[in-house]
C-alpha cells in the first residue's frame, strides 16, 4: 500500500516545496535591519511612498526588480494594481513633486548589491534567487 501511494506522496511533496521555496517573489532587507516579518499593509505603504521611515526613524529605501513575473505578481498581490497603474501612480508622484519611485534594477544581483549598500533598504526580488548573504523577511497578513 505504501508502494502504491508513494508516487502521489512524492508529487505532492514536490508541489508543496515549490509553493514554499519557489514563490514568484521574495522580500529582502539589509542585514542591519532587525525585522523578521513585514505586514502586507506595511509593504503596500512603503512601495506606494506612504511610509518613508522605519520605526527607528531611518529612511526606507525601497527597490524592485524589473523582471516581469516577480514584479507583476508583487504589484498585483501587495499593491492591488496593474503594472500600468503602478507606473502611472509613480509618474504622478514624480511630476507633482510628491515622491520618488522605488529604485528599479534589471537583475536580482544588482538589487541585492543595492540592499547591501543601503542600511535602510528593502527590496523585491525573484522567488528563485538564492544568496548566502541576504536576509529574507516573511510577509504576514497583520
Amino acid at each position: 500500500m505504501y508502494c502504491k501511494y508513494r508516487w502521489f506522496m512524492l508529487i505532492g511533496f514536490f508541489i508543496l516545496s515549490v509553493n514554499i521555496f519557489g514563490g514568484e517573489y521574495q522580500i529582502i532587507v539589509n542585514h542591519s535591519r532587525p525585522e523578521q516579518k513585514v505586514t502586507k499593509n506595511m509593504l503596500r505603504n512603503i512601495f506606494l511612498g506612504k511610509q518613508a521611515k522605519w520605526e527607528n526613524g531611518q529612511r526606507i529605501s525601497p527597490a524592485i526588480v524589473n523582471i516581469d513575473e516577480p514584479k507583476k505578481v508583487f504589484i498585483k498581490e501587495i499593491l492591488g494594481k496593474t503594472p500600468a497603474a503602478y507606473k502611472n501612480y509613480w509618474n504622478k508622484q514624480l511630476f507633482t513633486g510628491q515622491g520618488v519611485p522605488p529604485a528599479a534594477f534589471d537583475s536580482d544581483e544588482a538589487l541585492i548589491q543595492y540592499i547591501h549598500d543601503n542600511p535602510g533598504a528593502i527590496g523585491v526580488i525573484s522567488g528563485q534567487s538564492v544568496a548566502d548573504d541576504i536576509k529574507v523577511v516573511e510577509i504576514v497578513e497583520k
Binding site: 506612504k50 526613524g57 531611518q58 500600468a84 509618474n91 514624480l94 511630476f95 513633486g97 510628491q98 520618488v100
Partner: protein
C-alpha cells in the same frame, strides 16, 4: 524683494542638489508633449477651426533626498496653449519637504492645490488617458485660479484599520499667478462683464469687443485641501477636495478709458471624486461646484460706480470608463456636462439657449509605443458652447466636433 527671495531660494536648492548629486541621491526627470487640435464650426480653447499646433508642454524636474526626514524638489514648466503660455519658462512647483512620520509631513514653497483627481498633474499629459481633461471639472479658464499657492502644506496617511486608510493634504498661502496678462484673465473679465449686462446700461452698451490696455491680478490668501479614502473594497477610492480664497483684478480697458476693479471676495471650488479600478478596467466620476462672491466697481474719469455684490454658481460633472487592452493600448470614453449658471441650466437668460450648457462625449485611444513614448488620438462630440471663450464675437454653432492628436516623450 520677491525676486531676491526666489533667487536665494533657487541658489539654496541648487547648492543642496549639487551636494546630493555627488551623493547620488538626486533624480532628474522630464517630459515633452506636442499636440494638435482641430474643431468644426467653433474656435475652442485655441484658434482650432483652422487646426492649431500651439498646444505643447515641456518640463524638467529634480528631486533630492537630503536626509532621513527631508527632501527637496523643483519643476520648471514651459507651455504654449493658444494665447497662453507662449513658451515662457515658469516655476511649476518647488518646495522643501520634511516628513515627521507617515501621518504628518510639512511642505514649504510653491505647492500645487489638491483639487480633484487631476488638478495637480493637469499639465502632464502622460498621467491620464484623455488628452483634454473634462472641462466641466477642469475648466482651462479657471486654471490660474486653482493651480498653486506660495505657502505651506501638510500631508499624511492615516489608517482606519478595517475601514481602509485616508490620505490628506492641506495647503495655505497666496495664490501664485503665473501671468496676470495671460488670456485666462481676459476670459474671466469677459465672463464677469457678461454677467453684469442688465445691471448697468454701461455694460449693455460696451460689454463686448473691449480690449485690455493694462491689467494686474493680485492673488490673496488661499486655503485648500483634500481627503482621499482608500476604501476596504480593493480598487475603490473616494475623494473630497475644496479650495477657497480671494483675489483682486484691476484692469484698464479701452472703452473709453475705464478702470475696472474686481474684488473676488470668496472664490470657492468643491470637487467630489470617485475612482474604481478592477484589473484593466477603470471607472471614474467627478462633480465640481464653483461659487464666488464678487464686488465690482468701475471708474470712468471723475465718476466711480459700484455694482451690487454678486453671488454666482457654476457646476459640472463627468463619468468616464476606461480599459487597458495590452501593455501598449488603452482606451477611454467620457461624458461630461457643464453649466455656467446653476440657476439657468436651460440658458433662458442667455443670448442663445445653448450658451447655457456644454455637453461633451469623448473617445480616446492611447498607444504606449515604448516605456517612454506615447501617442493619443481623441474625438469629441459637443452640444452647447458655454465653455467657448476664445473669439467671443464668433457666431457659435450648437453641435460641433473637436479632434485632437498628442504625443509625449518622458525621461
Amino acid at each position: 524683494m520677491k525676486r531676491h527671495v526666489f533667487k536665494y531660494a533657487a541658489l539654496a536648492i541648487f547648492s543642496i542638489a549639487d551636494f546630493c548629486i555627488a551623493q547620488q541621491d538626486v533624480r532628474i526627470h522630464g517630459f515633452i508633449s506636442q499636440g494638435y487640435m482641430k474643431s468644426t464650426d467653433n474656435n475652442y480653447l485655441l484658434k482650432s477651426k483652422d487646426g492649431c499646433f500651439e498646444f505643447n508642454e515641456a518640463a524638467v524636474n529634480m528631486m533630492a533626498i537630503v536626509s532621513d526626514n527631508a527632501q527637496i524638489g523643483v519643476q520648471f514648466l514651459a507651455r504654449d496653449f493658444g494665447e497662453a503660455g507662449n513658451h515662457t519658462v515658469l516655476l511649476d512647483w518647488a518646495y522643501s519637504d520634511y516628513n515627521f512620520n507617515s501621518s504628518f509631513g510639512l511642505r514649504l514653497g510653491k505647492i500645487k492645490i489638491p483639487l480633484g483627481l487631476y488638478n495637480q498633474g493637469r499639465d502632464v499629459d502622460l498621467l491620464r488617458t484623455p488628452i483634454l481633461l473634462p472641462q466641466s471639472v477642469y475648466d482651462e479658464s479657471m486654471r490660474d485660479f486653482s493651480l498653486a499657492i506660495l505657502g505651506i502644506g501638510t500631508y499624511g496617511n492615516l489608517s482606519l484599520s478595517s475601514f481602509g486608510q485616508i490620505d490628506y493634504e492641506i495647503v495655505g498661502g497666496t495664490l501664485s499667478i503665473p501671468d496676470s496678462k495671460s488670456a485666462y484673465w481676459n476670459w474671466v473679465l469677459t465672463d464677469l462683464i457678461d454677467v453684469f449686462k442688465g445691471y448697468s446700461s454701461y455694460f449693455d452698451t460696451h460689454g463686448s469687443g473691449f480690449q485690455v490696455n493694462q491689467q494686474k491680478v493680485s492673488g490673496k490668501s488661499v486655503v485648500g485641501g483634500s481627503i482621499q479614502l482608500e476604501t476596504p473594497l480593493t480598487g475603490l477610492t473616494l475623494k473630497a477636495s475644496k479650495a477657497f480664497g480671494k483675489l483682486n483684478m484691476n484692469s484698464i480697458l479701452n472703452l473709453p478709458v475705464v478702470t475696472f476693479n474686481i474684488d473676488v471676495i470668496i472664490n470657492q471650488f468643491n470637487t467630489y471624486s470617485m475612482q474604481y479600478h478592477y484589473g484593466n478596467f477603470s471607472l471614474t466620476g467627478e462633480y465640481h461646484l464653483h461659487e464666488y462672491f464678487t464686488d465690482i466697481s468701475y471708474k470712468i474719469p471723475s465718476m466711480e460706480h459700484k455694482l451690487p455684490r454678486y453671488y454666482w454658481e457654476s457646476d459640472g460633472y463627468y463619468g468616464q470608463i476606461g480599459y487597458r487592452f495590452s501593455n501598449w493600448f488603452e482606451t477611454c470614453m467620457y461624458y461630461s456636462e457643464y453649466f455656467p449658471d446653476t440657476n439657468d441650466r436651460e440658458g433662458k437668460n442667455k443670448d442663445v439657449s445653448y450658451e447655457g450648457w456644454q455637453k461633451d462625449l469623448s473617445l480616446t485611444l492611447r498607444f504606449d509605443l515604448t516605456q517612454r513614448w506615447l501617442v493619443k488620438l481623441e474625438a469629441h462630440r459637443m452640444d452647447g458652447v458655454a465653455l467657448i471663450r476664445v473669439d467671443t464675437d464668433q457666431s457659435k454653432e450648437r453641435d460641433w466636433e473637436l479632434f485632437m492628436l498628442k504625443t509625449t516623450f518622458q525621461f
